[in-house]
């Protein structure tokens, strides 16, 4: 048995990578597109920080991420897909909502229409 194993291993170097035996994911080189996907996602996070994924803006942040990926990888992404991708890098449950919310909604402000709504249109 051992001899066979040895042979197999020696044979490995002579054979193409496609015939590499299965091993743990981390030791295998990732598919190029997978790498690119993750790279784009991480780039997108510069505009759409994960910290905002728990606040009131979360749906629009997600929208932004979906759009970014769609544009850079030229295919549609569902919200779930994006969330799953993010889940690999962040523990989404542990995210704390941003402080920004306090600034937007902390104080009550009476509603007011912009002046130009009152002007007569021609």
């Amino acid at each position: 048995m051992e001899a066979a194993a040895d042979e197999e291993q020696e044979g490995l170097s002579a054979q193409s990578p496609a015939q590499a035996p299965p091993s743990s994911a981390s030791s295998l080189p990732k598919e190029q597109s997978q790498v690119e996907l993750e790279l784009r996602l991480l780039q997108a996070l510069e505009f759409y920080p994960p910290s905002k994924l728990k606040g009131i803006h979360r749906h629009f942040i997600l929208y932004g991420l979906m759009e970014y990926l769609r544009k850079s990888l030229d295919r549609q992404f569902s919200a779930d897909e994006v969330l799953q991708l993010l889940d690999r890098f962040f523990n989404l449950e542990m995210l704390k909502p941003d402080d920004d919310e306090k600034d937007n909604f902390g104080q009550t402000e009476e509603f007011a229409l912009p002046d130009n709504f009152f002007k007569k249109e021609e």
């Binding site: 505009f47 759409y48 920080p49 910290s51 905002k52 009131i56 803006h57 979360r58 749906h59 629009f60 942040i61 997600l62 929208y63 932004g64 979906m66 759009e67 970014y68 544009k71 549609q76 992404f77 569902s78 919200a79 941003d98 920004d100 919310e101 600034d103 937007n104 909604f105 104080q107 009550t108 402000e109 009476e110 509603f111 007011a112 229409l113 912009p114 002046d115 130009n116 709504f117 009152f118 249109e121």
Partner: protein
Amino acid sequence: MGGSSNTTTTTSGGAGGKDKDRDRAKGSSVSFTEGEKVLAYHGPLLYEAKVQKTENREDEWRYFVHYLGWNKNWDEWVASDRLLKLTEENVRKQLELKNQSGDKTVRTGGRSAQHNPKGSNADAKGDKEDTKGLVKGKKRKNQLGVEVAMIPKHEKERRSSESLLMSQFPVTLKKQLVDDWEFVTQLGKLVKLPRSPTVDDILTKYLEYRVKKDNKISDSCAEVTKGLRCYFDKALPAMLLYKKEQKQYKEEIKGDVSPSTVYGAEHLLRLFVKLPELLSSVNMEEDALNKLQQKLLDILKFLQKNQVHFFLSAYDGDSKGADGAKGK
């Protein structure tokens, strides 16, 4: 550098289009006098200022300036490299710099000015502002840790007026909002609650309409309507009500009830007016923002199409008898 500039520092050699640093020529022979009105650099922009005091220290002139229209707290000592003579050409430069800074939040230094965020309907604020559209206020750090000014009301108005959404806001819906304003603020009436259809119903109907039209479910559309619902629930009590509606709100919305299940099209429409302001926190990429605004406009058109069914044509007198209201 040691050019023959008697009057202004910018005229020598026609200095258009170069980096602003060249204006701050060291060893410039320009000097200013007490009481003189000048243009002074504060950060990347120029502001009208007045020289209060002058001082010569180690053969260098320094000027204590007061920024016109600004709190005295901002007064400071500056060297001549921060000042420009108040000429037409320099004023044009001031305008140019202001336009270049565009819609981005203007970074400011210095101490915090007095700023009253609880603006009233009018644009009047505690701290007077320069008519050229300065954006100074409390210092605050944004998510990148960069100090930015808290956005005063007129800046919010400017953003709103520059947004695609606002510029293409359907006219009949604008009129709807004006009528709404008149009913509530001028005639003392209120929208009768609960409404049907509710905001929730309307957003759901919109999705159904889109699915029918496109023959597929758009994930991004769904996300947008979820986002609007989310905004509505938080924004309604905070910024979508007229003062006269506060009482009704407290009576109708108790405990965990979501405003989007009680209020209807009248208040949803008000949310759209606030969207440019709300979305500015998201800091979206330009392309994505444009696409989003197209979607939002599509929703408005949907509201317009169904205006008769979604909106009330008349409001109730306040049935609980508020101060001097006409009961009915």
